[in-house]
């Protein structure tokens, strides 16, 4: 479908942006180019529709060398979505969507029908067709931006950080929608991003670039499990490496399953002894049936020390917990972000099963960095 053959780009002044890239992309494949800024990912993509001309080497789209095709024809046959969206503010949404078809001289009624079909795809109301881009939210505008690229039904679509300027919630929604759309329509996508989460979520294959060269090409899984070198590891980030470790999948596997607890009906003053004996500064509170109730720490104990109160009256109940069968990759980041030293682990009924401390997470991080063997000593 798309083939790069020894492609090199040297800018005026001798700056080598892309250095001898070879890559083949299959029909229907979703490929993400990723790398730090200045790695040549955008340049590589823009050479496909000749917004940037290659210095050396050839690019083939559907077996045809792009340098032998008329540049205007070439661009009309390739969808193009940019980060700044670039909808024309003086045209209605309908005109914007139908623009490439207009350039291709499709009859007006056919263009209108196509615009309606397309807007249905992203489940926006058809009344939006007669509005202007300025009246839409950023997320809606980029939906239209994607539709505009789809309008002439091109088999190949280039996207330059299309969701980069959106807020995280909108971005997430649009990514889901778009992945779904791409699979339904079977388009080939070349997608430039600097967001690893986005690449992992969307791409069938990820191409990691640095200084104009391809460092690694592989499926998200391959890249997470066998990063080619230190650069890739660093780029993927430690958190993702932990979470992708195959032997560590659920919270239950890394938790300490015998946390120190205290019964909710015990007097506050009695807890002090436990704390001193065990050399710790807080306790998890449970009831008769081991249901998790809350926690109590040395500050609270200190405040109520002289009063005759039970633990359950003084404890903090509003606390972040995780279920033991949750996948690690989903919760590690949230745990780290909470900023607490530990998180109680509960089962479906709410019974206390164990505790995950930051220290145990840190252990896994160290192991994944230094590549120790997989039987991690926890606690």
């Amino acid at each position: 479908m798309l083939k790069f053959e020894n492609v090199t780009k040297v800018y005026k002044g001798g700056n080598k942006a892309v250095d001898n890239i070879n890559l083949e992309i299959n029909r229907g494949e979703f490929v993400a180019f990723i790398g730090p800024s200045g790695c040549g990912k955008t340049t590589t993509m823009k050479m496909v529709n000749r917004l940037i001309e290659t210095t050396e080497g050839n690019i083939y789209v559907d077996g045809k060398n792009i340098n032998e095709v008329d540049v205007v024809e070439l661009r009309r046959s390739i969808g193009y979505v940019i980060q700044q969206i670039g909808l024309f503010p003086h045209m209605t949404i309908r005109e914007n969507i139908a623009l490439v078809s207009k350039l291709l001289k499709t009859p007006l009624d056919e263009r209108n029908k196509r615009a309606e079909e397309l807007i249905d795809l992203v489940s926006m109301d058809r009344s939006y067709l007669d509005r202007y881009p300025g009246e839409l939210s950023g997320g809606q505008q980029q939906r239209i931006g994607v539709l505009r690229a789809l309008a002439a039904d091109p088999p190949l679509i280039l996207m330059d950080e299309p969701f980069g300027a959106l807020d995280p919630i909108t971005r997430d929604a649009l990514q889901d929608e778009f992945k779904d759309l791409q699979q339904r329509l079977g388009k080939t996508i070349v997608f430039v991003t600097h967001d690893m989460d986005e690449a992992i979520k969307l791409a069938d294959r990820i191409v990691i670039l640095r200084d104009g060269e391809i460092v690694q090409v592989g499926t998200p899984d391959e890249i997470l499990r066998t990063p080619a070198n230190e650069f890739v590891e660093e780029f993927i980030g430690e958190e993702r490496l932990i979470t992708s470790r195959p032997s560590l999948e659920t919270v239950g596997q890394i938790m300490n399953d015998s946390p120190i607890t205290v019964h909710e009906d015990v007097d506050i003053s009695e807890t002090i002894k436990t704390l001193i004996d065990r050399k710790i500064d807080s306790l998890l509170v449970v009831d008769d049936d081991n249901y998790f109730k809350g926690f109590i720490d040395i500050e609270i104990i200190n405040r109520y020390r002289k009063e005759n109160v039970k633990v359950k009256e003084a404890m903090v109940t509003d606390i972040f917990t995780v279920k033991e069968d949750r996948l690690l990759r989903d919760v590690v980041r949230r745990i780290l972000r909470q900023g607490t030293r530990y998180v109680p682990v509960i089962d479906d009924e709410g019974k206390l099963r164990g505790i995950v401390t930051r220290a145990s997470l840190a252990n896994i991080v160290y192991d994944s960095i230094w590549g120790e063997d997989e039987d991690v000593v926890l606690q």
Partner: protein, 222 residues
């Protein structure tokens, strides 16, 4: 009070003369701006494409603008002789700068993301100009025409010195008369009025051509 009566008296007796001078005055200004637009708008577009040339061209055009109007007319008169054509030529020269500058900045201020997406979807250079750049720059270009027209109307007044007629003719008659205040005003007031109306009218057009106004207007009717 006496003065207003006198002006009124002048209009009553010279009605058709005043009207024809107003018309003549306006035509001279409009022709000057029109011819300048024919040259300056394409030139502005060209300069926006090749902005390396723009410092040279703009410094030449700026020099034209610094020549005093009377001197300009005198010099042109030496070449072109007396009459309205010389005035139109002078107005043409004075109109180039505002139109050229506004066209140039109007085209250049079109968002780069828009030209990139136009290019990326396969517009030819001409299509990009016609469908994207010109429509978006249009209100700025019209603002240039507006400035040029208002300047033109005031400069056309001194065209009377080289026999071009116009409202300046009436003013000169007033200065030559023994007690000509009323006659001077009879010429000056319509000149100011034409300038004000031309300004308002062009301002209105400018607003109509702005796409944001278009959206607002449609929302009001909806």
């Amino acid at each position: 009070m006496e003065l207003i009566k006198e002006i009124w008296h002048y209009y009553e007796h010279n009605g058709s003369y005043v009207l024809s001078e107003i018309f003549r005055h306006f035509l001279m200004s409009a022709y000057g701006v029109l011819f300048a637009a024919i040259i300056a708008i394409p030139l502005g577009i060209f300069l926006a494409r090749y902005s390396r040339l723009s410092p040279v061209v703009f410094s030449i055009v700026n020099i034209i603008q610094t020549i005093p109007a009377l001197a300009m007319l005198a010099v042109l008169m030496l070449v072109m002789g007396l009459g309205p054509n010389t005035v139109v030529m002078a107005l043409f020269l004075y109109s180039i700068l505002p139109i050229l500058r506004n066209t140039y900045t109007g085209i250049l201020s079109v968002d780069k993301a828009l030209t990139e997406s136009g290019n990326g979807m396969g517009m030819t250079k001409f299509q990009l100009l016609r469908m994207v750049e010109l429509p978006l720059a249009l209100s700025v270009i019209i603002a240039g025409l507006r400035t040029a027209l208002v300047i033109g109307i005031s400069i056309a007044t001194i065209g009377a010195f080289i026999g071009a007629g116009g409202l300046g003719d009436i003013i000169i008659r007033g200065t030559n008369a023994a007690d000509g205040t009323a006659i001077i005003l009879a010429g000056a007031i319509p000149t100011a009025l034409i300038a004000v109306f031309a300004d308002l009218f062009m301002g209105w057009i400018e607003k109509q051509l702005n796409h944001e106004t278009k959206i607002k207007r449609r929302n009001r009717t909806a």
